[in-house]
């Protein structure tokens, strides 16, 4: 075992990369849940986004179009969930599970021709002066664009929920859909939009894994990232800023255990690989004491009688 082989600069830099997919997916789910809908299909939408993004990026040679396709793929899949829960008034838990099972099947079908293919390289930003700062430069200022997109999304969603009319309507629908309906807000329309946004975010998160983090395509490669994103929303008490905090915490654990594996710690690899999931459970236990922050209409079916 040689712990000195772990470079703290590289560790922190890869932490940002490891956190980004769950950060983006969790932010999408945050918006969905604030509108009062529980979509458990994040894992399915992420993996679908991962293959859509991968396939399009390989075919066009452009990671940009890959990410666009990933967002579109994730949103398209979430449309199925919207149809089921908002128009067919199906149970949200069951529909979310269906979405995940369906997405896993769909992605492995779509991905057949792409196993072992190398995706086009996504360029890293080279910020001239900031990137040269010792320590901070490589850790914070020399990543690909998606890392900063994730951070910008945190700020945008926080501001949207807190200061804008759209955010207020969204929260109203999530807290009490009957009252929102009585005020004349289109509950179903708001929720469908939120679900589509969540789907697009999950798709982007998935594509980040297949295009940048790994980067290649293997079946089931998201390996529970979607579920961790769901846990993150609970962890964050439905607040955007704390989602970021949680994502970096989980990113840190993931990166640290990978580094420990590489350093040859005497703990078997399998037990290290378990740690992100175990820590998720642990954090859920600590954070679940206060459930008062959950949107009041979360998971309830809305059917306007008149």
């Amino acid at each position: 075992m040689d712990l000195s082989s772990i470079n703290p600069v590289l560790l922190l830099a890869s932490l940002m990369v490891a956190a980004t997919p769950i950060l983006i997916a969790a932010l999408g789910e945050l918006v969905v849940e604030r509108s009062g809908v529980l979509n458990l299909g994040v894992e399915g939408m992420m993996i679908t986004g991962a293959i859509c993004g991968f396939a399009v990026a390989v075919e066009t040679g452009s990671p940009f179009w890959g990410f666009v396709a990933a967002a579109a793929g994730g949103a398209l899949l979430s449309l199925l969930f919207a149809l089921l829960t908002q128009f067919a008034l199906a149970n949200q838990v069951a529909s979310g599970l269906a979405l995940t099972l369906f997405g896993l099947g769909l992605s492995s079908l779509l991905g057949q021709g792409y196993v072992g293919v190398k995706p086009p390289h996504t360029a890293k930003l080279d910020i001239p002066i900031l990137g040269d700062i010792p320590f901070l430069g490589p850790v914070v200022f020399s990543h690909d664009l998606m890392v900063y997109f994730g951070l910008a999304l945190v700020a945008a969603i926080w501001a949207m929920l807190k200061y804008t009319r759209i955010g207020l309507v969204l929260r109203a629908v999530g807290e009490n859909h009957d009252a929102a309906h009585a005020l004349g807000y289109k509950v179903v329309r708001v929720r469908v939009m939120a679900i589509l946004f969540g789907g697009a975010c999950a798709g982007l998160g998935g594509a980040y894994i297949s295009l940048i983090r790994v980067p290649q395509w293997t079946e089931g490669m998201t390996a529970g990232a979607g579920w961790i994103a769901l846990a993150l929303v609970v962890f964050a008490s439905w607040k955007a800023g704390r989602v970021m905090l949680g994502a970096y915490l989980f990113g840190g654990v993931t990166v640290l255990q990978l580094n420990l594996q590489a350093a040859g710690v005497s703990i078997p690899v399998e037990y290290l690989s378990m740690s992100p999931y175990l820590i998720t459970i642990l954090v859920l236990v600590i954070m679940s004491a206060d459930r008062s922050r959950a949107p009041a209409s979360l998971g309830r079916i809305f059917h306007a009688t008149q």
Partner: protein, 360 residues
């Protein structure tokens, strides 16, 4: 204009019709999918649903129906109890793995001793393993209010890592020339879950599944606990006034489904699979969710749904080798089934009315 009107009571007729309708719609959508993949759609659907039952080699495939159906039914029966009460155990896959590990470990501990006692002990250990694994989300929910969906699901990934660790380490066959995987139970008579009637596919897991169906039926229809489960699902507030203790129900539902999933794992590892290996689990724990819903959370329905789902597994394998249909297409096909089922379920609870658009 179409308008939805909530029925005062769920329609009995549609309760029975919707699963059939969902299967038919899935066949149609599936045909379209197969056609897109460049296969003859009618041939593909016939291969999946007809070939295993009445085809040339049906003498081989029919017993497989029981072998593949038994774990699905065992797990789905357990899940259905919780689903009825709004307790969502979706980590059955993990409980299945742990049941297989603990059961196999007990069996391997006795190797090479021969005694009729060994197999019953393995069965007990398998059930207890699954039970213990399911008790983690149950206890955490009762004590700390954590979400059982997320915790049980996280534990699937933990169990998968544990499985890898076991087949590479603790339970590895010492005479296996360094290959991963445990000793094979098919070569260890006392620990082998052999067919009860040779060539019928009928092993002890099938018997256990049938017993589980009967017990679940009696529990739900004739026992106060079953009544409490149904009451909690339909009217949680009323249930609390009626003196139902929600925590006890959580422990019972998660515990039972865990034990049944553990049993399924044990019967699989000591019979059809034969050994603990890295890729021992094939997703029965997740497919069982589809089985539970397709069977309308009713024990008899689940039995039929389990057989149907087993049919798509077997037919899927035939279509894979005969027509070159990708395995993922079958997985997608099963996922579609749950989708359509949830969609047509609308007809059970709502009436669709055509109304003329009125001016306000």
């Amino acid at each position: 204009m179409l308008k939805l009107e909530k029925r005062p009571q769920p329609s009995q007729l549609w309760t029975y019709l919707t699963p059939l309708l969902a299967v038919i719609i899935t066949m149609i959508a599936g045909s379209a999918l197969f056609a897109l993949l460049g296969k003859n759609p009618i041939e593909a659907v016939a291969t999946i649903f007809w070939e295993p039952l009445f085809g040339e080699f049906s003498f081989y495939y029919r017993p497989q129906l029981l072998v593949k159906g038994a774990p699905l039914v065992l797990i789905a029966i357990g899940l259905s109890l919780g689903f009825r009460a709004g307790i969502w155990n979706i980590g059955a896959e993990g409980q299945y793995i742990i049941g297989a590990i603990t059961g196999a470990a007990v069996g391997l501990a006795f190797y090479p001793a021969e005694s009729w006692l060994i197999f019953p002990l393995m069965v007990l250990a398998g059930a207890l393993g699954g039970l213990a694994w399911a008790m983690i989300p149950a206890f955490l929910q009762v004590r700390f209010g954590t979400n059982e969906i997320l915790v049980s699901l996280m534990l699937v990934y933990v169990a998968e890592q544990l499985l890898a660790s076991m087949s590479l380490g603790l339970l590895k066959n010492p005479e296996g020339f360094g290959f991963p995987g445990s000793r094979n139970f098919q070569q260890y008579a006392s620990g082998h879950n052999a067919e009860i009637i040779t060539g019928s596919g009928m092993h002890w897991g099938v018997v256990a599944a049938l017993i589980a169906v009967i017990f679940a039926y009696i529990l739900l229809n004739r026992h106060i606990l079953g009544y409490h489960i149904r009451l909690t699902g339909q009217a949680p507030r009323a249930a609390r006034f009626a003196g139902v203790r929600p925590n006890l129900l959580i422990l019972f539902c998660l515990g039972t489904s865990g034990a049944l999933a553990g049993l399924a794992g044990l019967f699989e590892v000591s019979g059809p699979a034969g050994q603990i290996s890295i890729d021992f689990n094939v997703g029965y724990g997740f497919t069982a969710i589809i089985v539970a819903f397709l069977g309308r959370l009713h024990p008899v329905g689940i039995m039929l749904a389990g057989l149907l789902m087993a049919l798509t597994y077997i037919g899927g394998e035939i279509a894979q080798s005969n027509l070159g249909l990708p395995a993922a297409a079958i997985q997608l096909f099963q996922g579609m089934l749950l989708f359509f089922l949830l969609a047509v379920d609308l007809l059970t609870n709502y009436r669709i009315r055509f109304v003329k658009a009125e001016t306000a």
